[in-house]
């Protein structure tokens, strides 16, 4: 089928240009987000991330600009196009679930489902119920659910609207740590099992590191950075790297598993280097997502011998920047295309004579497996 609107827009992905002016706040963003995977809108409260998400959903009537989602134009103020929310094939997960209090869980789930023409349904009830583990709740009323249960129902309800774009507004923010841990695996399954692009608003770095493929950094209503998570987290010109627990995300392929030491090897893409981490085995060949904190990485000029540190890989110094702490320096390292950050002292930099282009060894004291 030839869709002229799609042909005109041409691109797969989400192109969003929004301007909203309120007396006390203005949003002005121009974003290009990938048409698959999870894009995180990250920023402090008041940075405009929720407003941006609401613009994507069409919930901010004052928004002007242009929005196309995988070729479909949802908003084009100049052309006089503004699809109302109920005509946009999206799913929206609110911060507080916002289930309909007068309907059972099952009727809540069916609310969106039955409003999608049968031919356009891409997720069925059993699948969503199974994915979020809410089969035992179907007959209950929302008022009787825990916060975590409510949020899972909210996510399932959004999925059952067969969205072509799933919008999530801090779905974990209203939950305590234990409930967060309860939901995160379901979000990861969502990511792995459904091919629906997700825009995820968060102000929690842990969630972003764990879930996002693409990261947009918002500050005072503007996007100050937008790019793949691994590159963006490693950028030295952003406040992210300055944080005390700044980390980068490394994706690699599961190579082998040493059962004697429960040591899993993950091969870095395009490199002979591998990172080894104590972890339950993942299927060989699958993609592992690892997080490495800048403060857990140290730099040596010669390959260290006889160290308790398991992971020592060859790198090249890309560039350096002052860290938030005046005695520290952030060093960006390139391991054959994989970016790492190291937080070292100014003293060490001068002792080692580190400079862009210098070959070195990165010693990584701790690696955590995210997924």
């Amino acid at each position: 089928m030839h869709d002229p609107a799609a042909a005109a827009a041409g691109a797969v992905g989400i192109e969003a240009r929004f301007r909203v002016d309120y007396p006390d706040f203005a949003l002005d963003v121009d974003l290009r987000l990938p048409g698959r995977g999870v894009s995180a809108l990250y920023g402090h409260s008041g940075s405009g991330k929720t407003t941006c998400l609401r613009c994507l959903a069409g919930l901010e009537p004052a928004a002007r600009g242009r929005l196309s989602v995988n070729g479909q134009v949802w908003l084009d103020t100049q052309a006089g196009i503004a699809l109302p929310t109920h005509r946009r094939p999206l799913g929206y997960v609110f911060q507080e679930a916002s289930l309909f209090p007068h309907l059972t869980v099952l009727r809540n789930l069916q609310f969106g489902l039955k409003r999608v023409p049968a031919a356009q349904r891409r997720v069925d009830l059993d699948q969503a119920v199974e994915l979020l583990g809410i089969g035992h709740l179907l007959a209950r009323m929302p008022a009787g659910l825990s916060g975590g249960e409510r949020q899972r129902v909210g996510i399932a309800r959004a999925l059952l609207a067969s969205p072509r774009l799933l919008l999530m507004d801090e779905p974990l923010a209203s939950l305590d740590v234990a409930r967060k841990q309860e939901i995160l695996p379901y979000l990861e399954r969502l990511h792995d099992e459904l091919d629906i692009p997700v825009v995820y608003v968060s102000h929690a770095p842990q969630e972003v590191v764990r879930l996002a493929d693409h990261l947009v950094l918002l500050e005072a209503g503007r996007a100050i950075a937008s790019g793949p998570i691994a590159q963006t987290l490693a950028r030295l010109d952003l406040p992210l790297a300055m944080a005390e627990d700044a980390s980068v995300v490394v994706s690699g392929t599961v190579a082998e598993f040493d059962p004697a030491y429960r040591l899993m090897s993950v091969r870095l893409p395009g490199s002979a280097s591998r990172l080894r981490v104590v972890h339950a085995p993942l299927p060989p060949g699958s993609t592992a997502r690892l997080a490495v904190k800048a403060r857990d990485v140290s730099v040596a000029l010669a390959r260290p011998q006889g160290s308790s540190i398991v992971n020592v890989i060859p790198v090249r110094v890309l560039d350096m920047a002052p860290a938030g702490n005046p005695d520290h320096i952030l060093v960006r390292l390139d391991a054959d295309g994989t970016l790492l950050l190291a937080r070292i002292t100014r003293y060490s930099r001068d002792q080692l004579g580190l400079a862009p282009g210098v070959p070195a060894w990165a010693q990584i004291k701790a690696v955590s497996v995210l997924a």
Binding site: A57, L59, H86, Y92, F100, F111, R115, R157
Partner: protein, 225 residues
């Protein structure tokens, strides 16, 4: 029982008037209340004030203006005559129109409160789940506002039953057509028929008490409007 046929006619007429008025009020009041609950227009204040006028105006003032506008020389009277409907004062239809205006705030305000209490979030959630505004109104707003509709219906009915001044001004006192219970009581007292007046008045007290009891036990802690 000391009630005669004219008393029963008055009771039956009152029930008819209050039922029809309540029905019309729910139909007319719902969109007004919805608009008042949702709008950011500058007209919200003035419109809300006009709707609330019957709360404070003496019924004679309301009745006087209704009589003038619906009379043969008033704008409404001219229109109804042009349509071949005659004039409304001293007819049952005239009483219905007067009652709708007189009881309007008692229906609009509980509805408006109910709509405002729902907030925007359920509407937004429904919109993200493909529900058009009309769909959302029937599938989300109506069920969530049901207590408000019940309160509005009860108050509208009870208040219309208790109407006197407006009826007297525009309805007169025509047995079987415009003579409602409150007017009938007035007539009994004028004629010193205290026994019948007692029966009717006592009935009104009992009716009003039961209605209010119903309202207050339904939502004990919440004021009516």
């Amino acid at each position: 029982m000391h009630l005669d046929s004219s008393d029963f006619a008055a009771i039956w007429l009152t029930v008819q008037l209050a039922s029809l008025t309540t029905l019309l009020l729910l139909v007319v009041g719902t969109p007004i209340a919805w608009w008042l609950a949702r709008t950011r227009s500058r007209l919200k204040g003035p419109v809300g004030a006009v709707v609330a006028l019957p709360l404070v105006l003496p019924p004679t003032v309301l009745g006087f203006y209704l009589l003038v506008t619906m009379g043969p020389h008033g704008p409404v009277g001219q229109a109804t005559q042009a349509l071949g409907l005659g004039v409304l004062p001293f007819t049952f239809a005239g009483l219905v129109v007067g009652s709708v205006i007189y009881s309007l705030p008692f229906v609009v305000q509980p509805l408006q409160n109910a709509f405002e209490a729902i907030g925007t979030r359920p509407l937004e959630a429904a919109a993200t789940l493909r529900a058009s505004p009309r769909d959302c109104f029937f599938s989300v707003v109506l069920p969530l506002a049901r207590p408000g509709f019940i309160t509005a219906g009860i108050l509208g009915f009870a208040h219309t039953v208790g109407e006197f001044g407006v009826v007297l001004m525009i309805g007169g006192n025509i047995e079987g057509r415009t003579r409602v219970v409150s007017v009938q009581i007035y007539d009994h007292v004028e004629a010193l028929e205290y026994a019948q007046a007692h029966w009717l008045a006592g009935g009104m007290v009992a009716f009003s008490f039961v209605v209010l009891l119903l309202l207050y036990t339904r939502r004990r802690s919440t004021p009516l409007w």
